[in-house]
């Protein structure tokens, strides 16, 4: 039971966190929205006139914007496909009885802890490099022409690098969910003559559905913001082949110093992320009541 004193103490204790987050959210957000309506380039000092929707118009009609949206969708879609399917497979496998469970689990999960710049550079140089990379060497020893990953399949290369990091995440979450499944249910089904596929499809999958949704939503939030992997490998190229929305905004704001244009892109990115966030928040909110 809370007293009046403890209630006011509680309010006092929560206020720094609320104030800070409010500031962190509102101030830059208002600035971004405001800048997005100005003609504002850091390279041309002077006044920054109001231009209405011009920045949005130019940003959206730029061909690289359409490329960026398309690339973002393919990146997110491709990585989700690999990590969710792979994650289900790994989780089912790791859930089975075996020797050395701890070691095997650690090896699978380890890539998640590798910082993005390291994984990107390691894949780029040690694996994708057509001359000295591991894949190039394997191809040569089998008598094939090595693939020049970043020239021939740039976007897929990024998908591979990022999937390597997120597959362990999906595995870890799905494995945790799988382990909370009531074993007796499975045994009962088995005794009733349900085969492996039926047990998987009618018992495990419904149980996993929630965790899979959570994995998809959380990963989407993070994957919309892929940046470091692109910066250190392809710089968005060749052309705009690996430019996603995040990278495009980075280019217009910090490389071309076009504050107005970058901000307009930022507002678009926020709106896109919010569409995903609404669904995620609803799921988490439901869990909070339970």
């Amino acid at each position: 039971m809370s007293t009046k004193a403890s209630r006011s103490a509680a309010r006092l204790m929560i206020s720094p966190a609320v104030a800070l987050l409010l500031m962190w959210m509102i101030v830059p957000l208002v600035m971004t929205v405001y800048f997005s309506f100005l003609r504002y380039n850091l390279l041309s000092p002077g006044d920054t006139p109001w231009t209405g929707w011009d920045n949005y118009y130019w940003f959206v009609t730029d061909p690289s914007f359409q490329d960026a949206i398309w690339n973002t969708l393919r990146l997110v879609g491709g990585i989700l496909l690999i990590t969710v399917l792979g994650g289900i497979g790994f989780a089912l496998l790791l859930d089975r009885p075996m020797f050395g469970t701890g070691v095997i689990r650690i090896m699978v999960i380890a890539p998640f802890f590798v910082m993005p710049t390291v994984s990107a550079l390691v894949w780029k140089n040690m694996f994708f490099n057509p001359v000295n990379g591991v894949f190039g060497n394997i191809a040569k020893s089998l008598g094939f022409q090595p693939i020049d990953f970043f020239a021939q399949i740039p976007l897929l290369s990024i998908v591979i690098i990022v999937s390597w990091m997120w597959l362990p995440f999906a595995t870890l979450i799905l494995l945790t969910a799988l382990q909370s499944l009531d074993q007796e249910q499975l045994e009962a089904a088995e005794m009733d003559g349900a085969g492996w596929w039926n047990r998987f499809w009618y018992i495990m999958m419904p149980h996993l559905a929630r965790a899979i949704t959570v994995v998809i939503l959380i990963q989407t939030i993070f994957l919309l913001s892929i940046f470091a992997e692109i910066l250190v490998t392809t710089n968005g190229g060749p052309g705009t082949a690996t430019t996603n929305l995040t990278y495009l905004i980075y280019v217009s704001s910090l490389l071309q110093f076009d504050v107005g244009m970058g901000s307009a892109g930022g507002v678009i990115a926020i709106i896109l992320a919010n569409i995903v966030a609404i669904f995620l928040m609803r799921m988490i909110g439901k869990n909070l009541d339970a």
């Binding site: 380890a110 910082m115 550079l121 910066l231 905004i249 988490i284």
Partner: protein, 277 residues
Amino acid sequence: MARAVSTRQKSINTAIAGTLALLMFFPILWITILSFKTEEDAIRAPLEILFGTGWTTESFAAVQARSDYFKHFTNSVIISVGSTILGLMIAIPAAWSMAFVPTKNTKNVLMWMLSTKMLPPVGVLVPIYLIFRDFGLLDTRFGLTIVLMLMNLPIIIWMLYTYFKEIPGEILEAARMDGATLREEVLYVLTPMAIPGMASTVLLNIILAWNEAFWTLNLTAANAAPLTAFIASYSSPEGLFYAKLSAASIMAIAPILIMGWFSQKQLVRGLTFGAVK
């Protein structure tokens, strides 16, 4: 009831899972091996590297000599530990009050805090960059610490809240009945019980801050650059020096790999905001 599983079945499972696990782990294993080779050996064919070359630690020394590795390592430690401690100082009182003195708004406040995490960083890149420029915070450890603290604050509060929630409120009431003040209650009753939860919160947040690669790349140059940015400087042309790149990479990821292995379980709770336990 545990099912009896034959040793044969178990061995087959182990073989399949072990092979796949080794494939996943292979890039890390590979750079570990390369980091102990000379530059000439590191670009040989994989089988030659494995079976036909000697070992050396010269790359580690070279990385330190050439690019001042320890400065960036120190930056990473200061920024990740600093942002976590700062975050804890703000989050502990907030999580405490929401867990033990909930009001009808608590759920909304929690959800709102979480929603700040959904904001894509690139959406506020321009204003943050300009604020940093105007206040002279660009390329400072202080500025980066603050930003990473704010980035992770919702996760810290959220994790602490779920851990505090699991502590029975009756114990706190009993302490209050015995005349404990609020300060004593938090310090001597709550804190000891919350230590395991707080430890995993700390661990997860250090990991997240250590690996953060958007703000660290955009807001730092030479001085405050943590390891994420330091490694990015290897993108060219030093990236062609495989042994040195490997040594630098291993040194950058080793501390976090070790911490990560200890915090697997908490990771699930922290990264799914309690939606999967």
